[in-house]
């Protein structure tokens, strides 16, 4: 394996817009909202940015294609701007591009900005009908919740978990995120809900009810990265550095070969192993302080905690019910409310996860601040359980 980029890149500044149904804003206004906070936090002039990566996933319902919308909106000084799209993991892809530019020496300051404006379609849920002409002829008539719901049926069958136990565990996942989201002023959903409400909510795609599904939100998030040396020369201290960035992409074996049982995310198992290796983490259950994982659906978070090698395979539901991932548990997960409550503006989500880690690691997370976190891990998943991209990042204090 290559050496990796551990501690070669530091986060100089980050910003995040208020997430939610932003009827007041288009994608452009959201981009500026996140960028203003980010560039102020970085303490540099925007003209110093030498390259940018711009993530959106469903750009056909808002800004359209290419790097131009970012460049025009921010009036960037004709620098390289690359538009990246990798399903719901697009935000982490923008961050990866910016970090690689800095790590390689191609840029001193690089910007990653992700945005999604989803609430101009006229209906709830994600926009549909985006496959190519061959997919349109044979792909099942599915939605995101329906495809992730299948994880639940296969998980129960594979590990012999009773329906009621599974349903309670995934309800607890959402209950916990609502508790956390209530303390986040930028979150889309800021209301705690009780277990009965979650368990008795209308079905969206069985067994996933309304509260098992994350919100569809508008929002933007951004990061400016540089090298630790440059950051120090700018007078910054208590630096937050990148420990690992790994991406694993399905190659069709889950969807087309009978070796996968449907109960887990094959790519997440691979990406997280590589990330621990890059970061030099031997025992993640003891070393990682907190997680922001891709809880697009409650059951996704449940299996992800196994696929990140934190909970034992088939036993994650017990950890969840034991409160292991609660705010006061051993390793808090989704302390900002997660996709479930902070919201899920697709192209921004990976950067939003990093934003929370960045705040927590600096002790700036306000009422939801955890005690002395040192290493944070994000998991940003795009696609469907059977065919996806799984992006894992580890960031932490430079001295951690």
């Amino acid at each position: 394996m290559a050496k990796g980029i551990k501690d070669k890149v530091a986060i100089l500044g980050m910003g995040c817009s208020k997430f939610g149904e932003r009827w007041d804003s288009g994608a452009e206004e959201l981009m500026v909202e996140a960028f203003k906070e980010c560039v102020a936090d970085a303490g540099i002039d925007m003209k110093q940015i030498q390259a940018a990566w711009f993530s959106t996933a469903i750009d056909e319902v808002h800004v359209g294609k290419s790097g131009v919308p970012l460049s025009v909106t921010l009036r960037l000084p004709n620098i390289p701007v690359t538009h990246v799209e990798n399903f719901c993991a697009s935000g982490t892809e923008a961050f990866r591009g910016a970090c690689y530019a800095v790590a390689s020496g191609a840029a001193d300051f690089a910007l990653a900005l992700g945005v999604e404006k989803l609430k101009d379609t006229g209906y709830g849920g994600l926009p549909g009908g985006r496959g190519g002409p061959l997919q349109a002829l044979w792909n099942a008539n599915g939605t995101a919740p329906g495809n992730f719901a299948q994880l639940a049926s296969a998980y129960m069958a594979t590990h012999n978990v009773k329906y009621d136990d599974l349903k309670r565990a995934i309800a607890h996942v959402s209950w916990k995120s609502h508790q956390n989201g209530a303390k986040n002023a930028k979150a889309h959903l800021q209301k705690a809900v009780d277990m009965d409400t979650i368990l008795n909510a209308p079905m969206i795609a069985a067994p996933l009810g309304l509260f098992d599904c994350c919100g569809v939100s508008d929002g933007a998030a951004a990061a400016i990265v540089t090298t630790p040396e440059i950051a120090k020369s700018l007078g910054k201290h208590d630096l937050i550095s990148v420990k690992a960035l790994q991406l694993a992409v399905s190659n069709g074996s889950e969807s087309g070969h009978n070796s996968w049982d449907g109960s887990y995310l094959h790519t997440t198992r691979i990406a997280s192993k590589r990330a621990y290796e890059e970061a030099g983490i031997k025992n993640p259950r003891d070393e990682v302080s907190m997680f922001e994982v891709h809880d697009c659906f409650s059951v996704t978070e449940l299996v992800t905690m196994e696929d990140l090698h934190i909970s034992e395979t088939g036993k994650g539901w017990k950890d969840v019910l034991d409160g292991f991932y609660d705010a006061d548990g051993k390793i808090p997960c989704q302390i900002d409310g997660g996709l479930k409550c902070f919201g899920h503006p697709i192209g921004a989500s990976g950067l939003r996860m990093l934003y929370e880690m960045y705040l927590q690691l600096q002790g700036k997370a306000g009422p939801r601040q955890l005690k002395d976190p040192r290493i944070g891990m994000t998991h940003n998943l795009g696609g469907l359980p059977r065919e996806n991209v799984s992006s894992v990042s580890i960031i932490g204090r430079l001295d951690a």
Binding site: G128, A140, G142, G146, Q150, A205, S255, H257
Partner: protein, 480 residues
């Protein structure tokens, strides 16, 4: 000796309770009360004459290789396409293209019998010939035909070897007697007075034709063991038999109580019904009426005892689910403007060039089998899907439509647009290898669980109403 070598049928799973229809419509049409008995078959929203004919053809083939098929006639008055050969869609779904003469036959209620005569003529040279017939007729709300019609299909294999019912002769009369019509500006039939149809039509056209036919075939009315004659008027077949010296006990049941009249397919559907229990030596007279009359005489041979077991009409009739929701029947037939929501607005435009390139995959459900590692996979790809193989250009065609699969994971999706929510779908795996995420159809909540055995069935996936109704067909999984 030419004749029938195999038979098959198909009846949609749903059976519309006629009393439920009557209850909904009696405020307007109280006179229908007398017909509010029993049930009629009702196509699912994803079925049409093509899909039903494919199912009947598969039942008829019953696992035998269709590659030797030389002629395929498809009779219907509800061909889904006016210009695009419907029979060729069936042929492609059966994975037969090369050397196949395919033709659609329509335009009359006797299209089924006319196709059978054409098929028998073609099969006389020894060429394997299939005749399939299916109809899914619409009827106006609160009409008698709404209660009388049923949806269904039949298929017959014709040839000169292993004949189970040999041809004794055919005779046809063609004349423009208009008992009803369906112009190209209407979805519905317009019919004339029944008494006139009976007295001036049936009574004056059919008996003389039967008389001439029996004479030509060297038969007497009393020789006929099974008299098959569809009619919406239940007493007419008995009357025709009596006028022709055929015993009343020979008159076959019209299947009104359990199925309804399947239109141009009905003579063949009734023929399959008769063949299922026929004995060697039985003589069958089939009469198709509509703008004249077709008469076909057959004699059952000892070969019938050797025909492999298939579902047939009785098997498909037994696979039933009662439907009492009349509004659902109207909705499935696009006769109820439901608020489908914006998710129903997604464009269903089909890239015809893609469909052509991938027709074996999409219409034939043909996957691949790797010559290097033996892995079966769908779709067939240039690089093997097996993570331990990944051989290149290593796959042979592997038809999967006839294989049984089982559910690995599933959901019931209430978010996606479906004409019958929730949409059931999930990943199905084939035991020998291969899997894909399939839409499920004809299933109930209790049946959809991990491990349920599923059979593949050719169905409508989408209907592109923006472009005049281009139906996209693909295979779905239904409980086996």
């Amino acid at each position: 000796m030419v004749g029938i070598t195999a038979f098959g049928a198909y009846v949609p799973r749903l059976r519309l309770n006629r009393q439920a229809v009557y209850e909904a419509n009696k405020w307007f049409a109280p006179g229908l009360r007398g017909q509010a008995k029993g049930e009629r078959s009702m196509a699912n929203w994803d079925e049409d004459s093509i899909t039903m004919a494919v199912e009947a053809a598969r039942d008829c083939l019953n696992g035998t290789d269709p590659k030797s098929l030389k002629n395929l006639y498809f009779a219907s008055t509800t061909h889904p396409f006016k210009d695009r050969q419907n029979a060729a869609v069936i042929g492609t779904a059966l994975t037969v293209e090369q050397g196949l003469m395919a033709a659609d036959i329509g335009g009359s209620q006797k299209a089924g019998t006319s196709a059978l005569i054409a098929g028998l003529n073609a099969a006389g040279s020894g060429a394997a010939t299939m005749v399939a017939a299916a109809d899914k007729r619409l009827a106006r709300v609160a009409s008698a035909t709404e209660l009388q019609y049923g949806d269904g299909a039949a298929a017959l294999m014709l040839g000169t070897d292993n004949v189970i019912a040999k041809l004794l002769g055919t005779r046809s009369v063609s004349m423009d007697f208009v008992d009803h019509f369906r112009g190209d500006e209407s979805d519905f039939d317009y019919g004339w007075e029944e008494r006139w149809i009976r007295d001036e039509g049936y009574a004056k056209i059919v008996p003389p034709a039967i008389k001439d036919a029996l004479q030509a075939f060297g038969l007497k009315g009393a020789d006929i063991t099974h008299f098959i004659m569809p009619s919406l008027m239940g007493a007419v077949p008995k009357q025709m038999a009596k006028m022709s010296g055929i015993a009343e006990t020979a008159v076959r049941d019209l299947l009104n109580a359990t199925l309804g009249d399947t239109g141009s397919a009905h003579a063949l559907v009734m023929l399959v019904d008769a063949l299922e229990t026929a004995k060697p030596g039985d003589k069958i007279l089939v009469v198709g009426f509509g703008q004249g009359v077709d008469i076909i005489a057959l004699e059952v041979t000892a070969e019938i005892g050797k025909l492999s077991k298939r579902l047939g009409l009785s098997g498909w009739l037994a696979r039933r689910k009662e439907e009492k929701n009349y509004l659902k029947f109207l909705a499935f037939n696009e006769m109820l403007p439901l608020d489908k929501g914006m998710r129903a607005e997604f464009d269903k435009k089909t890239a015809l060039s893609v469909l052509w390139r991938k027709r074996d995959m999409i219409y034939g459900l043909v996957g691949g089998k790797c010559r290097v590692c033996g892995t079966i996979q769908f779709p067939r790809a240039q690089i093997c899907v097996n993570p331990n193989c990944h051989a290149m250009d290593s796959q042979d065609d592997y038809p999967m439509a006839g294989l049984e699969a089982s559910i690995m994971s599933f959901t019931a999706d209430s978010l996606t647009y479906s004409p019958e929510p929730p949409a059931y779908y999930g990943m199905i795996t084939f035991p020998e290898g291969g899997r894909f995420t399939a839409d499920f159809t004809d299933c109930d909540k209790e049946q959809v669980k991990v491990g349920t055995k599923m059979r593949m069935t050719f169905r409508i996936r989408d209907n592109d109403t923006m472009r005049g109704g281009f139906k996209r067909y693909f295979w779905k999984a239904a409980p086996a």
